[in-house]
């Protein structure tokens, strides 16, 4: 029963996988028909020496730490808040979850709409309150903050949802016992709640880590890497190399370095699952 699916999966993943490796050792030209020209390690040398790539990885790292960090922190707080509700938690979590069903393109659209310098609601609020009066998506710094917050807006609910599921497994009787012994909320959080959801937090972290490098549509549609390349994370850079400069061989080499990252995350994920299996 498994063979049709596995055969199809092999066809649509292994063929591209070997193609991308082969491409990375070639100069692939699209102009006037496809042409491969073997170029040895040229593309690979460029990957490791190109200052643009290095700065894109750096921007990716900042973007990654900021988005995933904020999502984990706010998502956990969101989950603890909803968990502490005695009623209405069902409807409130439903409302909070909505952003994660929204297409990233539409999240980008919303960002542009809310931050539009002439009529955006958030731009207007920031302007009226005297906090910021420039073009948010058009200035270095504020553009980065904006695209980070858009990602946080979309994906924090996912972290909250995962953490909330974990909170259901916190031992109630231990909490009650701690309370009778006079434990404060901070102590309960630190010594009982957080330790018992640590595995869940790790799952949330890994899921977000893999998606953070998978998607790039929000930035694509809002700043497309600008202004002055300040939001050009590595997938956007790759897309530029491949489809603006049509340097597909080089793009393939960059793509493989991204694949290595995602394979590391996948390894951690499967290890974690195995640990869960053996512990339960």
């Amino acid at each position: 029963m498994m063979s049709p699916a596995l055969f199809l999966l092999a066809l649509i993943t292994l063929v591209p996988f070997f193609s991308i490796i082969w491409m990375s050792f070639n100069d692939v030209s699209l102009m006037g028909g496809l042409a491969f020209e073997f170029s040895g390690l040229d593309n690979w040398q460029r990957v490791f020496t190109d200052p643009d790539i290095r700065s894109s990885w750096l921007i990716s790292l900042i973007y990654f730490l900021a988005t995933v960090g904020l999502e984990m922190a706010i998502g956990t707080v969101m989950a603890l808040l909803v968990y502490s509700l005695t009623r209405g938690s069902n409807i409130i979590i439903s409302l909070l979850l909505i952003p994660m069903f929204i297409a990233p393109v539409i999240v980008g659209l919303l960002g542009r709409f809310m931050l539009d310098p002439s009529h955006g609601l958030y731009a207007w609020l920031l302007n009226e309150s005297g906090l910021f009066d420039g073009n948010i998506l058009g200035s270095v710094g504020s553009a980065m903050v904006a695209v980070i917050l858009m990602d946080v807006w979309e994906w924090t609910p996912l972290v909250a949802l995962i953490v909330l599921a974990g909170l259901a497994s916190v031992p109630e009787d231990t909490l009650e016992a701690a309370e009778m012994d006079g434990a404060k909320y901070g102590q309960k959080l630190l010594y009982i709640i957080l330790p018992s959801i640590s595995n869940i937090l790790l799952v949330a972290l890994l899921i977000r880590a893999m998606d953070a490098i998978r998607f790039f549509a929000i930035i694509f549609i809002t700043t497309n890497g600008g202004p002055a390349d300040s939001t050009k994370i590595i997938p956007i850079r790759l897309y530029d190399i491949a489809f603006r400069f049509f340097d597909l061989g080089y793009a393939a080499a960059v793509g493989i370095t991204m694949l290595v990252f995602s394979i590391m995350v996948a390894t951690a994920f499967t290890k974690l699952l195995k640990r869960q299996e053996t512990s339960s």
């Binding site: 498994m2 909070l96 297409a103 009529h119 207007w124 799952v203 393939a252």
Partner: protein, 276 residues
């Protein structure tokens, strides 16, 4: 017990929750609300909450020369077919994988999960080249294949997790009563799998429906999906915000409703079965 859940002053808690709800809901509400405003109110310098609602953007989307219908049909067809293939094959493979005991099963599992986690930008490059060779650019089949590259491993993995939760006793009992393995699967296992199947299908559909990067690269005039319609309007000079917000509302609402319908199994689905 209620007391064990209580923490922090109540007012602080309510304030924080209100802020998070506003932060989450304002952009969506503002989009849906504004899609019923005439354009001059949308682009007015000061935001307006009260206005006479109009359906002009929606009617113009479906009547004007560049109608949204083809985009909508492309989206429905491509996302629908890729979901159907992923769920049917994923269900079969998931059952097999869950029940089989073979050496190297974890390598198989690792391969499946890592194909699902592969960065879109890295997958696009070789697929683009292959699609050019195979004349799959600007075809429905091309995009369906592209979406299967993430939906198929997702469906296999998730269905395996759902089947793992189902006790073996049930099928074994059916087989002791004389059912074949296939009959046990068809009449005992499959009906119990309905939530798993529905969840997998809805999530696959949402992933395909929401995709932008693949569609942007592989689609052409005859295969463009709705996110492309939105992106095209967004890159024009002199953006027609009313139309754009109406498209946004059309893209978002059905998926939010579908997603919330399977809320009960959402955690399991989106963590690929790691959390129950």
């Amino acid at each position: 017990m209620k007391t064990s859940k209580r923490w922090l002053p109540l007012t602080f808690k309510i304030a924080l929750l209100t802020f998070l709800l506003l932060w989450t809901l304002i952009p969506i509400t503002w989009m849906v609300l504004s899609s019923f405003k005439p354009n001059d109110i949308i682009t007015a310098g000061t935001p307006r909450v009260f206005f006479t609602p109009t359906l002009e953007h929606y009617t113009s989307l479906f009547s004007s020369g560049n109608s949204l219908w083809p985009y909508l049909l492309n989206s429905l067809f491509i996302a629908g077919v890729s979901t159907l293939i992923a769920v049917v094959l994923g269900c079969m493979a998931g059952f097999g994988l869950s029940r089989i005991r073979i050496k190297g099963k974890q390598h198989l599992a690792f391969w499946i999960i890592s194909t699902r986690m592969a960065p879109i930008a890295a997958v696009i490059v070789p697929l683009y080249l292959l699609f050019r060779y195979l004349y799959l650019l600007d075809t429905h089949a091309g995009l369906i294949v592209a979406y299967l590259s993430f939906n198929l491993p997702f469906a296999i993995w998730l269905m395996t997790a759902f089947f793992d939760d189902l006790p073996l006793d049930l099928e074994e009992a059916a087989m002791i009563d004389g059912a074949t393995k296939l009959q046990a699967f068809r009449y005992v296992v499959l009906p119990l799998m309905t939530p798993g199947l529905v969840t997998t299908a809805i999530l696959c559909f949402i992933f395909a429906w929401n995709d932008y990067a693949f569609a942007q690269t592989f689609s052409g005039p005859s295969t463009q999906t709705i996110p492309i319609a939105a992106a095209q309007l967004l890159t024009q000079t002199g953006i027609d915000w009313g139309k754009l917000l109406a498209i946004g509302t059309i893209v978002v609402c059905p998926m939010a409703i579908a997603g919330l319908l399977v809320k009960r199994w959402l955690v399991q689905g989106l963590t690929l079965g790691a959390v129950k």
